[in-house]
């Protein structure tokens, strides 16, 4: 356990010094700060657009950070040969991998917190204190984004045990897009009554296996306060459980590959 925590800590220390990540983060924060200027687009729905845009910036930036951060985790260690000194210590490979993953998630949490706080400040200034109670609801969206990004990081960690960072970047990005697409796609698909049962059946199976990132996009209701959703808290708990299951799947898969891997 000690080893995992130590590895996670150094991973955070490294991540928050990675220039690429800081640049991406800076761009994200800049977008958040200029977001209020975009409300000219649609006067009537300025609040909607501002909220949607702000949350979108956080989500997109976080996704890019999650992927860029994670795809280099293992390859960098191998390239710099730091992994040799670590693996020659009484550290199991799975501990190394889990430590790296947890470090990435912690770094992600730090960066996402920064963006969320920026968003909070922007909204506070925009609304000048009024309607702040509605703002409370806003923060659960980045929270679910964080769960989503942790899952994405697990996907990237898994791939990083056997593909190069560039390939991994597109692979993980692809999984993220497909995972975001698949829910709505399957939604239409399942409503189409003309499809043969076998096609439908296999779609159902794929749908159950692919990590469905769209599940975590709970911003609709915050952006459109009209929607009434009951039992939201339960849903969030289910989401966390869902993410944990998938993280386990990808980490175990990663460990199985990494354990056999020659570094």
């Amino acid at each position: 356990m000690n080893a995992i925590v130590s590895i996670a800590k150094t991973t955070v220390g490294e991540a928050i010094r990675r220039r690429v990540l800081l640049v991406i983060l800076l761009i994200g924060v800049l977008f958040l700060v200029v977001a209020p200027g975009l409300s000219v687009l649609t006067a009537r729905q300025s609040y909607t657009v501002l909220t949607s845009f702000t949350l979108g910036v956080i989500q997109l930036t976080s996704a890019v950070i999650a992927i860029v951060l994670t795809v280099y985790l293992i390859p960098n260690e191998i390239e710099r040969r730091t992994i040799y000194t670590i693996l020659s210590k009484p550290v199991q490979r799975w501990q190394f991998l889990v430590g790296k993953f947890l470090g990435a998630v912690a770094a992600l949490a730090l960066m996402m917190t920064l963006m969320t706080v920026t968003m909070g400040l922007v909204f506070m200034i925009m609304r000048q204190g009024s309607g702040m109670e509605a703002l409370g609801g806003l923060f659960r969206v980045p929270l679910m984004f964080f769960v989503q990004m942790s899952l994405l990081a697990a996907v990237a960690v898994f791939f990083s045990t056997f593909v190069s960072p560039i390939v991994n970047f597109f692979l993980s990005g692809g999984v993220y897009l497909v995972g975001t697409f698949f829910n709505p796609l399957f939604d239409t698909f399942s409503k189409n009554e003309n499809l043969p049962a076998i096609v439908k059946g296999s779609a159902t199976i794929i749908h159950m296996i692919v990590p469905n990132f769209a599940n975590f996009n709970v911003q609709n209701q915050v952006i459109n306060p009209g929607a009434v959703i009951t039992n939201e808290a339960t849903y969030y708990l289910q989401l966390v459980a869902y993410a944990v299951f998938y993280v386990l799947v990808f980490l175990i898969g990663g460990i199985l590959v990494f354990d056999r891997r020659e570094v």
Partner: protein, 495 residues
């Protein structure tokens, strides 16, 4: 090697199964119910560029929707209507809460596709209504799209008023509806032949308006209260004069009511195919003043979902931006002037709207007094009980209503002037049994249809009077009846 691989694989599979079960049984149904975009991209997504699509999926849905809508606006300015359709579809997909886009989209789809002579392409109306259904389902907490959908039934379809009633009743249930917009539901009740419901609504509206006025005596509240009151007064008088109360009470035969005896409109018509896809319509209608509109429909004889002089407007629940272009369906109005109508309908220049693929066609004529202005209805009654036609009175077309309906049949060759009907040969020409060359109809026999009067209904029409210009009654003023619009006198010419 330190890890127990079989156990780990088993653990992995177990986690995957757990995730799948959790997703399948709880998360996805919840997601579908609460977070899914109700209509999904499918082929429409092709209208988005890759980066837009990426942005849209990356969580910028509402932003992309906004940008697209700004672009759509410029297409409106250019009159590039076809370009707007996919944008409307996309915007409402991306952000199903863009009420303005639904409303504008409905109007655009329903009204803006026209031929060279400004006739709407009615094949689009089911899609416009479907957009209204979708929009109202996506935004159930605001009255707007219920109101807009009701308006499309009331104004554009201008028939089947039970639908307008249905939608406006829904709109009126929403708290955010503007008070003045509730009033219009009463008009829908009247056109749907339910004056008692209209009256009940007026009572309700009046008490609302009065309490609003008590709370604040600003001009708007006063005006609204006065309008409701005036409408209510008018309706009460109309119900009385049209014999509605008498019918209910069972002594209609004994009294003297405006709707007695039924007035024969004396419809006749003739259709000549002057050139390929160019019709000349002429005919008679015995109501003197300008303003009567007789509906004419030309359609495929075997058209799917066709009803009497209309199509099944409510047929679609999915917005289809590309309705069946094989179908020919033309609908227009014949304006009556001096008891006659003549109209040239040119369908030759818009072959996409009028493809003439079928071999057999019908030309339908239809008049529903419920669509008539209130002063005409004062004679014809709420459901046509004061109207008749010796040849073409029809009580099947719209159950519970008396309408005028007839049809003439044509072949493709006739309409397109081919074969033995080629130009220079035989001219296709069909008419109703009672058609006589125009000009023969006398303008002399004029009846007076009363306007609203404080002193009650006037007795029978003057008959046998010499030819004279239609006379207008002086508009009675004063009293509670004096407020609000008063129908002008109407003159009718009995057969």
């Amino acid at each position: 090697m330190q890890v127990n691989r079989p156990k780990m694989v088993a653990g992995m599979v177990a986690c995957l199964a757990a995730a799948a079960v959790l997703h399948g049984t709880m998360i996805f149904p919840f997601w579908r119910k609460n977070y899914a975009v109700k209509q999904v991209a499918g082929e429409q997504a092709s209208g988005l560029s890759a980066d837009q699509l990426l942005f849209a999926l990356a969580g910028f849905r509402e932003l992309v929707a906004g940008i697209l809508w700004v672009r759509a606006d410029s297409f409106f300015d250019e009159g590039n209507y076809d370009a707007i359709l996919p944008i409307i579809r996309l915007v409402t997909w991306l952000d199903p809460h863009e009420i303005d886009v639904y409303a504008t989209g409905m109007w655009h789809i329903g009204y803006n596709f026209t031929d060279e002579e400004s006739r709407s392409d009615r094949r689009y109306i089911p899609s416009a209504l479907a957009l209204g259904k979708e929009g109202s389902a996506a935004n159930p907490n605001t009255y707007e799209l219920f109101f807009e959908t009701g308006w499309m039934w009331y104004h554009k379809v201008d028939d089947d008023y039970d639908q307008a009633v249905k939608w406006w009743e829904q709109a009126a249930k929403r708290d955010d509806i503007q008070p003045a917009r509730r009033n219009i539901l009463a008009s829908a009740y009247l056109r749907d032949g339910q004056p008692e419901k209209a009256l009940g609504l007026y009572y309700d509206l009046l008490s609302r308006a009065e309490s609003a006025f008590k709370k604040s005596d600003e001009f708007q509240n006063r005006q609204n209260r006065d309008t409701v009151e005036s409408n209510m007064d008018n309706l009460l008088v109309r119900m009385s004069q049209r014999g509605y109360f008498a019918q209910k009470a069972g002594h209609f035969d004994q009294g003297d009511y405006d709707t007695k005896p039924p007035f024969d409109v004396g419809f006749s018509a003739r259709v000549t195919v002057e050139e390929a896809a160019v019709l000349k319509i002429e005919g008679t209608w015995n109501v003197l003043p300008v303003g009567t509109r007789v509906r004419i429909v030309l359609r495929d004889k075997d058209m799917k979902g066709a009803k009497y002089a209309e199509m099944d407007w409510d047929a679609s629940n999915a917005v289809n931006l590309d309705p069946d272009k094989e179908v020919t369906f033309m609908q227009d109005q014949l304006f009556v002037k001096n008891q006659q109508f003549t109209k040239r309908i040119d369908m030759s220049r818009d072959r996409t709207m009028y493809p003439f693929r079928s071999n057999d066609y019908v030309v339908e004529f239809y008049y529903n007094p419920r669509s008539a202005p209130a002063h005409i209805q004062d004679k014809f009654g709420f459901s046509g009980e004061g109207m008749t036609d010796q040849n073409f009175l029809n009580e099947e077309a719209r159950p519970g209503q008396r309408v005028v309906y007839t049809k003439l049949e044509f072949t493709k060759d006739e309409l397109l002037r081919k074969g033995r009907y080629a130009v220079g040969k035989e001219i296709p020409d069909k008419q109703t049994v009672n058609f006589k060359p125009l000009g023969a109809a006398s303008k002399s026999d004029v009846i007076q249809v009363p306007g609203l009067r404080a002193e009650g209904p006037r007795t029978g029409p003057p008959t046998g009077a010499p030819a004279q210009k239609p006379k207008r009654l002086p508009i009675p003023g004063g009293g509670a009846m004096g407020r609000g619009p008063v129908a002008p006198g109407v003159q009718m010419n009995p057969k």
